[in-house]
Assembly symmetry: C2
């Protein structure tokens, strides 16, 4: 199994990316193709002991920066790590692609070179989001800035398949993120997506859900448009980060609190562990023919290692084929379901 | 000063609403008109000592429930507490209106009976949101499900005036909530709103902001559409609530952690206090001729008391007139600014 890794993507490239690759190759026994400038990669690898690990270097001299316009960048940088790596997946030289780089460029190159599953209108980024009861799948968290109701219907189908086969939920409860749980809540996009999801007999759609209920664990799959989903995820991260700062400030104010915090440190460490998203392994771009994993731009070695683990699992579980199958079945089941609703 | 209070609004009506009114009348020395069914109000007041307090009962026998369709409810329940109270503001019998009830109905009745400030296309709900540096004003957090770019331009102007006169920020930094800070990030609505806000010379617009940066305090005013703003606020609440549950679970696991948490309890109490939104006094519906304050549906007495304080301050600071003035000036300054951009 060969996983192509974008060595130059993300805020901590190349050092942390390569450290994560070395860990993953050792722990999971996979081949990780290091795609990027060979000189840079060789210099970084010199800091690690890599004896017995399969870490081939695949040259790619260009770099797509975080702020670049995706379509333009992919078109104009054919020798970038993102383009070279996705082409490896296209030709079958690699079975999956992992990047912490420009999400839009990964989506563009993934769609262009890996290719969409037949019938899928738009791929969507899905992550496992921690709730009080476990995890729920949230999608789309940012593959699409502008989303149509018929895309969101497919997100419901893909999310349901993901929850079944990756999260092992038998009949996943699918809900639509809205500004109220009642029917009729939402903007026009949500109202139209609601209508389509309700008609989709292959999934267990249970109506709207508010953010607070998502965290209480009332949904296995949360469908949202890519813009709102991105705000949802980043707001969650922001609040968690802010609370850690506030706790540090308040718990070290005065000697008794400080002593208490010291004694409670194993508990506080468990709290931090439950907030740590590096172990979730990043987002899978669902709807492509092969797994494409996009991790956070601030990913360090641990997050990269887990992203490679997720890629390995997606390959083993044949997730893309299951999506293909599920979407075909859902189209067969719901002859009218994919008829567009004007937005 | 007479503030009309919807006694029947919210999950904890009428008990907590009336308790908050009694507190507010005592602490702030204002008249609070209790609008609702007289029998219910009298029964609740019997539990309080109200000697010397000015708490007139204003009969309103109908109740608009939380789940009712706003326009339909306001039209069909002329004797509801929300309609009766907003009509009191219209006639000048009261100077402001406070409710923990159906937000949409409060907006509808407020727009219909209190009336919009001349030039304002859509009122917007604004709240002070806690950041690591203090507070920022976020609007719209849910008055409008479907928002147009020209509405969001006005949210920028109104938010800036609110930050100046309520939060005492001299030249507030206005930013647009998006899925990335770079220019060009966002869905079509955000891109069009960006263009209009950038042209608005009366405000200090500094581009996009991500949720995480909002919490770091990089904006004084955060402009967002009502749907996204609602998701932002509710996600923040949800994460804060979830973390409190997680902390309780983890800090009481094992005797050492439990002792530590006990010693750190004053610090933990300060953390909770910083998360407690009942002291913020709810959201002001900006853009109406008189203050309309909408607090959380789960408001208890303390939140109601603070909402009445916010209403009192808004009256004293003549916030609605300042908005009127500011919008007029901004229209004069930016002759082209209010030209619609197609969305």
């Amino acid at each position: 199994m060969n996983i192509a890794l974008d060595v130059m993507g993300g805020d901590n490239a190349p050092k942390e990316i390569i450290a994560g690759a070395v860990d993953a190759a050792r722990v999971y026994g996979v081949t990780v193709s290091l795609v990027g400038p060979p000189d840079v990669i060789r210099a970084e690898l010199a800091d690690h002991s890599t004896a017995g690990l399969d870490l081939p270097i695949v040259p790619a001299e260009q770099i797509i920066e975080m702020g670049e316009k995706p379509v333009h960048a992919v078109r104009n940088k054919p020798n970038s790590s993102i383009v070279v790596a996705t082409k490896m997946v296209r030709t079958g030289d690699a079975q999956a692609f992992v990047t912490a780089g420009n999400t839009g460029a990964a989506l563009t190159a993934g769609t262009l070179y890996v290719g969409r599953v037949r019938g899928i209108l738009r791929p969507a980024l899905v992550i496992p989001f921690p709730t009080l009861k476990g995890f729920c799948a949230v999608l789309d968290i940012g593959a699409n800035a502008d989303t149509k109701p018929e895309h969101m219907q497919q997100f419901g189908v893909m999310g349901s398949i993901y929850a079944q086969h990756v999260m092992n939920v038998e009949r996943p409860i699918v809900r639509l993120l809205s500004n109220g749980e009642e029917v009729g809540k939402g903007n026009q996009l949500i109202l139209n997506a609601y209508t389509l999801l309700q008609r989709t007999r292959s999934i267990n759609f249970q109506g709207n859900v508010e953010s607070i209920e998502v965290m209480e664990g009332l949904a296995d799959v949360v469908v949202t448009d890519g813009f709102t989903g991105n705000i949802f995820i980043k707001t969650s991260e922001g609040v968690a980060k802010m609370l850690q700062v506030v706790m540090k400030e308040e718990l070290t104010r005065g000697p008794v609190s400080t002593l208490g915090a010291f004694l409670a440190q194993s508990g506080l460490r468990r709290v931090r562990a439950r907030l740590d998203d590096s172990q979730y392994g990043g987002a899978i771009l669902l709807g492509l023919k092969k797994p494409v994993i996009v991790t956070h731009g601030r990913s360090k070695a641990n997050a990269i290692r887990h992203a490679i683990r997720v890629a390995k699992q997606a390959i083993e579980q044949d997730l893309s084929r299951r999506i293909q199958q599920g979407v075909t079945e859902s189209i067969d089941l719901d002859q009218t379901a994919l008829m567009p609703v004007s937005n």
